[in-house]
Symmetry: C2
Subunit: 363 residues, 2 copies
C-alpha cells in the first residue's frame, strides 16, 4: 500500500518536472566509461554508468552484493530490500545498485547528445550493461568476487549474464522472475509493447521534443502492458480494491497509466529491445546448456507463480541446466510484480530467498 502511493507519486512527476531526477530516484554517482564500444559495434562517446551504493566495503572486499535493476524504473524500487532487519543489511553488506544503459541516468536516448540522441541512440545489450558494471566493480571498487548478484526481471537477465560471463566473480546468484535467454514468446510480447509506443505519430521515429508529447503512446503502452503485467486472477478477483483502487478502470488509469506517464518513450523502447535480445548463449555459439553450465555460483532460480512474462516452467527449464542450483517459486497474486512486495506475503517469501541464499556456504 505504501509502495503504491510511492509509485503514483512518481507517476505525477511527468507534470511536475523531470522523472529522471535525483528528487525522485535518489542520489546517484556516475562512472565515466569514456568511449565505450557496444556489442553492436557502435562506440558510444562519453558513456556513463549511474550507480548507488549502501553500506561500506570492508577491507577484505568480501562483503559486496550487486543488485542490477529491472526494465522501466531504477533501483529506487529495489532499495526496499536494504536496511536494518532487511535481508540486505548495510551494516553487514556493501550493496551496489548499478544502473544500466537506457535507464535515464546512465547513457540513454533521453540524455545523449547528437549524433546518438533520441531515436538515433544505438542498440544496447545486456552484455553491454554487464561489461560496464564489471568496470564499476573492479576499477572503482577493486572487488574480485561478489558475495551475491541478484536482480528481478531484466535484473535477472543481468544476473545470469554476470554468472556466465564472470563465473569466478559470482559466489551466489539469485535471478528473480527472469530468464537467461529470452524465449520466443517473450520476444514477441516485448516487441508488441515497444510497438504500442511507436504507434503514436507523435513518437516521430524517436525525435519528439518532450516525453509528454507521446502521452497517447504512453497510455496505449500502459493499457497493453497491463494485460500480461499482472494475471487473470488479479483482475478477476478485483485484487486492486485492497490497494485503494475503486474499479478496473480506476486501476488502469491510476496505477498503470500513472506509472508509465512520466517516463521517456525511447528509454522504454531501447530497454525493451535490450530485454528481448538477452541471451547468455551468445557466449557459446547458441548452446544454452553450455553457457549455463559455466555457472559456478550457488544459484536459486526464483520465478513468481502466475507470472505471464516468465512462466515458472520457462525458468525451471533453465534451472535444470545450472550445476549448483535450486528452484523455488514465490506464490503471489501480483504475478510478475511480486517484487514490489505490495503484499506482506510476497515480501516474506522474497526476503527468505535472499536470506537463505546468503546463508549458504560457498567455497
Amino acid at each position: 500500500m505504501t509502495h503504491v502511493t510511492m509509485e503514483t507519486s512518481e507517476g505525477s512527476a511527468g507534470a511536475m518536472g523531470n522523472y529522471y531526477s535525483e528528487e525522485i530516484h535518489g542520489r546517484h554517482e556516475y562512472l565515466d566509461l569514456g568511449d565505450f564500444e557496444l556489442a553492436g559495434g557502435i562506440t558510444l562517446p562519453n558513456a556513463r554508468l549511474a550507480y548507488k551504493t549502501r553500506g561500506t566495503l570492508n577491507d577484505a572486499k568480501d562483503n559486496a552484493v550487486l543488485f542490477p535493476h529491472m526494465w522501466s524504473g531504477t533501483s529506487a524500487s529495489m532499495e526496499i530490500f536494504v536496511g536494518e532487519g532487511r535481508p540486505l543489511d548495510p551494516s553487514k553488506y556493501f550493496i551496489i545498485f548499478p544502473g544500466q544503459f537506457a535507464n535515464g541516468f546512465s547513457s540513454s536516448p533521453s540524455n545523449t547528445p547528437p549524433p546518438f540522441n533520441g531515436g538515433a541512440f544505438p542498440n544496447v545489450t545486456i552484455s553491454d550493461d554487464v561489461r560496464a558494471q564489471h568496470r564499476l566493480v573492479t576499477e572503482v571498487f577493486g572487488i574480485e568476487r561478489l558475495e551475491l548478484v541478484l536482480g528481478w526481471s531484466m535484473g535477472a537477465e543481468q544476473t545470469y549474464e554476470w554468472a556466465v560471463r564472470y563465473p569466478d566473480m559470482v559466489k551466489r546468484a539469485l535471478p528473480f522472475a527472469g530468464t537467461a535467454r529470452t524465449t520466443a514468446h517473450d520476444y514477441i510480447f516485448v516487441r508488441s509493447h515497444e510497438d504500442a509506443l511507436k504507434s503514436d505519430p507523435a513518437w516521430d521515429g524517436g525525435f519528439y521534443k518532450d516525453q509528454s508529447d507521446v502521452h497517447v503512446g504512453l497510455r496505449r503502452h500502459a493499457q497493453t502492458w497491463s494485460v500480461m503485467g499482472l494475471c487473470p486472477e488479479f483482475y478477476n478477483s478485483e485484487a486492486y480494491r485492497a490497494y485503494g483502487f475503486s474499479s478496473l478502470e480506476d486501476f488502469l488509469h491510476r496505477f498503470w497509466e500513472n506509472y508509465f506517464a512520466p517516463m521517456d518513450p525511447n528509454n522504454l523502447i531501447w530497454m525493451g529491445w535490450k530485454w528481448r535480445h538477452g541471451d547468455v548463449s551468445l557466449h557459446t555459439n547458441g548452446d544454452l546448456a553450455a553457457a549455463l553450465g559455466r555457472i559456478t555460483a550457488k544459484t536459486y532460480v526464483v520465478p513468481f507463480s502466475r507470472d505471464m512474462f516468465f512462466p515458472p516452467e520457462d525458468c525451471e527449464a533453465e534451472q535444470r541446466l545450472i550445476p549448483n542450483s535450486e528452484f523455488r517459486v514465490v506464490d503471489s497474486l501480483w504475478a510478475h510484480f511480486a517484487m514490489f512486495c505490495l503484499a506482506d506475503r510476497d515480501r516474506e517469501q522474497i526476503d527468505a530467498c535472499i536470506g537463505d541464499l546468503l546463508k549458504e556456504h560457498v567455497d
Copy 2:
C-alpha cells in the same frame, strides 16, 4: 496443414477482392430481420442474419444442431466438424450455422448504409445475436428444441446465452474455450486488440474507404494478437515449423498477418466490443450463479489447455455453477486455436466431446 493452407489462401483475398464473399466463405442464406431493436436501444433498419445449413430437418424437427461461430471469421472454419464419419453427420443431423452481427455477412459496419455505416454502426451484443438466431430457429424452421448448441470462443458465449435465455429449447450445450461472463482480464486484452486497430490514423474513427487502407493497424493488431492467441510453449518449441513455417518472423507474417490482412477493421472492432461485453448474468441482475443455474441442458464445459484467452480455471469456475454439467479439458499445444484442428490429436479430442455429448440421454 491443409487448414493452414486454407487460412493463408483466405488471407490473400485482401489483394484479390472482397474477403466477405461467398467464393471464400461459401453460399449463405439470409433472414431479413426488418427493423431490429438492439439491446443498446438503437433500432437497426433492414437488419439481416446470414446463415448456412447442412443436412435436412426431419419431420419431427428433433434433429437440429445450432453451431454459432467465433470472432473474426465465419462458420466456414467450423464446417470441418460436419460430414460423413464426422461428429456432425448431415445424413442424421440438420446443422444450422447462424451468422452474427458484425461478421461481414450479417448486418455489419462493412455492409450497412448510412446513418449506421462504418464507424457509426451501433454496438451489438451477444444477446442481439442470440435473439436474431432465435428468430431463425423458430420462425424460419419452426424448431422448438435444439438437440445441441455448440460453439467456440465467441460461439461459446452465444451457446451460453442460448442455454440461459432459452433453457427449454437447448437439450445439450457444448461451449468450447469461452465463458458465460467475460472476465475482467479478457475485457482488457480484447480492448487492447481493438485499440491496436484504432491506433492507425488511417482508421479515422471507422470512416476509411477501403479496409486495406488500414493495413498498418491490421498488421499491428495481428502482432499484438499473436502474443496471447497462442501460448509460450507453442512459440518456444517452434511448433510452427511442423506446419511449413520457416521461422518465428515467417510465422508471424504468413500466419497471423495474413489471417487478419483481408478483414474489415470495423467488423473486428465491433465483434471485439461484443465479445468483451458478453455476460449472461445480465438476465439476473448480475448474479452469475442464478443465471447459470437456469441452464437445464446437459452441458460439457470444454476449455483448451494453455489457452491464454480462456484459462481452464476460469471455465471451471463457471462449470461448477451449471447444474447438469461436466468439465473436460482438451490438451493442445495450439492453445486457443485447438479448434482449428491443425493437429490430429486436437481433432480427436474435440470430436470425442461432440460425439459423447450427442450420445448422452437427455429427457
